[in-house]
Symmetry: C2
Amino acid sequence: MSNLKVRVDKKLLERTAYVLKCVAHPVRISIIDLLEQREQLTVSQLQEVLRIEQSLLSHHLTNMRDKGIVETRREGKHVFYFLTDTSISNIIDCIKGCKAVR
Amino acid sequence: MSNLKVRVDKKLLERTAYVLKCVAHPVRISIIDLLEQREQLTVSQLQEVLRIEQSLLSHHLTNMRDKGIVETRREGKHVFYFLTDTSISNIIDCIKGCKAVR
DNA sequence: CTAATACATGAACATGTATTCATGTGATGT
DNA sequence: ACATCACATGAATACATGTTCATGTATTAG
């Protein structure tokens, strides 16, 4: 009604939903949480903590990289993953504080 | 590796992902944005701004209510929707500020 | 009581996402 | 060169989600 309207531009809205959808998964939230603690971690290190199949983890990581949430650096046989922007982890703290979650 | 572990309990992790997944949709983000501006809105009012089918909107709203993001109050023929916790909109501001989105 | 308004619901279908399994690729050690 | 380690990829399958359409229910007006 009247002068009410969505204050977010449609393109940004879709991009926001797109990235958020990627965050919205237990394994991927865990990865963000771990990368907030360690700066960078290899796939094997993540695997050891998360205890999931290597292939599944790799798919999740590729997914997160496609969305720009993480980036990679290769060092010999190892590939290190790190957060593109550590402020992504604020989202998790944010939602953990919401009534809907508690 | 050493004493590294996910700092979020498994149950909370799943709940967080579950609620986040619900936020992660352009229409539902828009609804949150509108309800941040107006305190409460009827389905028709939302429909007028969003310009989507009544049925689709209703499904989205039911979805959001199931997840505890919104609540309802009936007043005559109208059903008002309002945010359970306005701090949910912080998430959207949060992610909009992230590199991955811009 | 009947019709209209405002909203909800269920089934069907389309589309998207998660997971597994098998296999591929790049780097290193021998 | 070959084996091994660390990781990536693709196809297949299973599962979840979004959307539409038809229909149902609650409330009010006449």
